[in-house]
């Protein structure tokens, strides 16, 4: 009982209720669980960090490997590309899904199951199946549509500097997470009454979305954005199979010749992800204190 309690509260990102003091022994169990999980997560991370900072020539520690990162060949390009892809994916998936979720909840509740199932597809279909399909279309279409604007469009999609095709595939891969995050937010608020109140006060539909829906859904929009960002920054399979260089594929490429550098970059990307997470929860908390003041 206490074990499950401890596990469930640790599984969630932010436990709503503090873990109860409970009966004798509960505290001890909590430390065991925390300890096991801590070892499970911290040992590999700690080992990676140690591997990157140990100075094998002179002994002691050095941050030399980290200093090499900015100047490493291809790093800046790959990292920037991944950030741009992530930003575009976040914008596109939100532009697509916020109105969809709002519309499904307010106007078309009968479509809820259908939309839910559709957004689940990327979880059911392995990404490898998706990407193999995409690859065949990409190799077949330019020939088929040769000398038409469509062929040009297919080439543009695969521009190595900014492969838009990845944005579209990532939007699909992000759907399950984004839909769930947004849907939870919509159900938590009485969005129907709020939008009707805003309409009644003279607000147009775009105004309702910007002034009422987005602020109410702020936390869930931030959550959806973060999940998408993390997904894109860590995605390897699709980018590798389609042959584009993104941050993860770059790490893998250099890991053969510069193992320490590649591990240092991985540790750094972990830190970046954590910082984004902290940033988002800080944004959320600032709103909370503002409301409670």
């Amino acid at each position: 009982m206490t074990l499950t309690e401890g596990l469930t509260s640790m599984g969630t990102a932010a436990p709503e209720t503090p873990v109860r003091a409970g009966r004798r022994g509960a505290g001890a169990w909590r430390f065991v669980v925390l300890g096991v999980l801590g070892v499970y997560f911290l040992v590999p991370i700690g080992a990676s960090v140690w591997y990157t900072i140990r100075d094998r020539r002179n002994g002691g520690v050095t941050l030399g490997t980290y200093a090499e990162i900015p100047g490493a060949a291809g790093f800046a390009d790959a990292f920037t590309r991944s950030l741009v892809l992530a930003g575009l994916t976040v914008v596109l998936v939100l532009v697509l899904m916020v109105p969809t979720v709002v519309l499904v909840n307010l106007r078309l509740p009968r479509l809820r199951t259908t939309v839910e199932l559709l957004t689940l597809m990327p979880l059911v279909l392995p990404p490898i199946a998706l990407v193999v399909g995409v690859r065949s279309v990409l190799s077949w279409a330019p020939d088929y549509f040769l000398n038409t604007p469509l062929a040009e469009a297919f080439f543009a999609l695969q521009e190595p500097a900014l492969p838009w095709i990845l944005v579209f595939v990532y939007v699909v891969l992000a759907l399950p997470f984004v839909y769930r995050a947004l849907d939870a937010g919509v159900r938590g608020a009485d969005l129907r009454t709020l939008t009707e109140a805003a309409r009644n006060l003279g607000a147009s539909w775009p105004r309702v979305i910007v002034s009422v829906v987005l602020p109410v859904l702020r936390t869930s929009v931030l959550n959806a954005a973060f999940l998408t960002l993390a997904l894109v920054l860590g995605e390897f399979t699709v980018a590798a199979i389609l042959g584009f260089e993104t941050f993860p594929t770059w790490i893998v490429r250099i890991s053969g010749s510069e193992p320490r550098l590649s591990v240092a970059v991985s540790v750094l990307s972990l830190l970046i992800t954590w910082m984004l997470l902290l940033l988002i929860s800080a944004l959320d908390r600032r709103r909370g204190t503002k409301e409670n003041s």
Partner: protein, 375 residues
């Protein structure tokens, strides 16, 4: 208060506007096989507070939503000041609405909520702030402008919602059961306040409720709806004294159902004969509908009725009497003459000298449903 009335943008401009009439012309709305509105006709005069009253599912909220523009009727028209607004979108209708559910924007302060409609209309910031202050004063929350909705009680939230609805100086005020989520005490207080503000501003108001006491106490006229049609529209007094149908009679106020026989155009009731009021069902066994004050109870050692309980409420007292055939009736009488009517006392009960409403012996299906729901 003097400073408020001196300003040109204050609620004074609301007061100067004459109330605008509304006309519902054959409104029809179906949801699948359910008929929510069945050719509803209703004329609402300018400046009037009309209550739409009825059991759940009678179409009163659908009618209100059709006026507000949230629900498009399948047939019929909504006319505002003679202008057909059936196809005008909700955000262009110039109506203020207070909802049953709490509807304040959680991310905005109370003052920002009240000023929302003005912000949408691109009014200057100073005007918005001034106006929000005046309206918060009108609803007695002038000191809460910088709070957030979740820091207010339910009653306060509905006051703010009322201020927000009035801030844009709407032509019509729509109230969709605004009090039903509140405590009994707050409810009575707030309904009186709504009436005070409505009279002060002279704004045409439609008040939807399922609570007959609420409707009777604040409205100029009450429209009783049943299955998407109006049963009767009348002043509260007339509705109570002269209900047009058995449904209205039973829905409004307390009503005794006493078995009776209808023969030769007369009702044989409790050993007396009385003329029939209103439409009569087929002759034979019927149920007479009599108000508690429409019965006379007298102490009578030879009487077949027995007093069950006696409830004192100031000037009047209500006694519950079990008649010989097991039927129980409620009788109201002045407390001054009720001294002998203690529980167990033998009494006779007879109807007052006036025409009696009668209904078919079976209860109306809606009424049975309401009784089951405990309403």
């Amino acid at each position: 208060m003097t400073a408020v009335s001196a300003r040109s943008s204050g609620p004074a401009d609301l007061r100067e506007r004459p109330g605008v009439p509304i006309r519902l012309d054959g409104l029809t709305r179906r949801y699948g096989s359910v008929v929510a509105l069945d050719g509803l006709d209703l004329d609402i005069s300018g400046g009037e507070l009309i209550a739409l009253l009825g059991p759940s599912g009678c179409g009163k909220t659908t009618a209100l939503r059709a006026i507000a523009g949230f629900d498009r009727p399948d047939g019929g028209r909504v006319l505002l000041d003679g202008r057909d607004i059936t196809d005008v979108p909700a955000n262009k209708r110039d109506m203020g609405m207070v909802f049953q559910a709490y509807s304040l924007f959680p991310n905005l302060t109370v003052a920002e909520n009240v000023a929302f409609g003005l912000r949408v209309r691109r009014r200057a910031k100073s005007e918005r702030a001034g106006r929000a202050g005046e309206l918060l004063e009108l609803v007695g929350l002038a000191d809460r402008g910088d709070r957030y909705p979740h820091q207010l009680s339910g009653g306060q939230q509905q006051r703010v919602a009322l201020a927000r609805a009035l801030a844009v100086a709407p032509q019509v005020l729509l109230l969709d059961e605004p009090l039903s989520a509140l405590d009994a005490q707050v409810r009575v207080q707030l309904r009186e306040e709504i009436r005070r503000i409505q009279l002060e501003l002279g704004i045409t108001t439609v008040f939807v409720t399922h609570d007959q006491a609420e409707a009777l106490s604040v409205a100029d006229r009450v429209g009783v709806l049943r299955a998407g049609r109006l049963e009767q529209v009348a002043s509260p007094d007339e509705l109570y004294e002269r209900p047009a149908t058995a449904f209205v009679a039973e829905f409004v106020g307390t009503m005794n159902r006493v078995p009776a026989i209808l023969a030769g155009g007369e009702v044989q009731l409790l050993g007396t004969r009385r003329p029939v009021a209103g439409a009569a069902p087929p002759e034979g066994v019927v149920v007479a509908l009599v108000r508690p004050e429409g019965l006379i109870v007298t102490a009578d050692p030879a009487g077949s009725g027995r007093v069950v309980t006696r409830t004192f409420s100031g000037a009047s007292t209500r006694v519950l009497v079990a008649l010989a055939d097991g039927v129980e009736v409620r009788v109201d009488l002045p407390s001054a003459v009720s001294g002998e009517l203690t529980p167990g006392a033998a009494v006779t009960v007879r109807p007052a000298e006036r025409p009696v409403l009668v209904a078919p012996p079976e209860p109306l299906p809606e009424m049975a449903e309401e009784a089951r729901a405990g309403a």
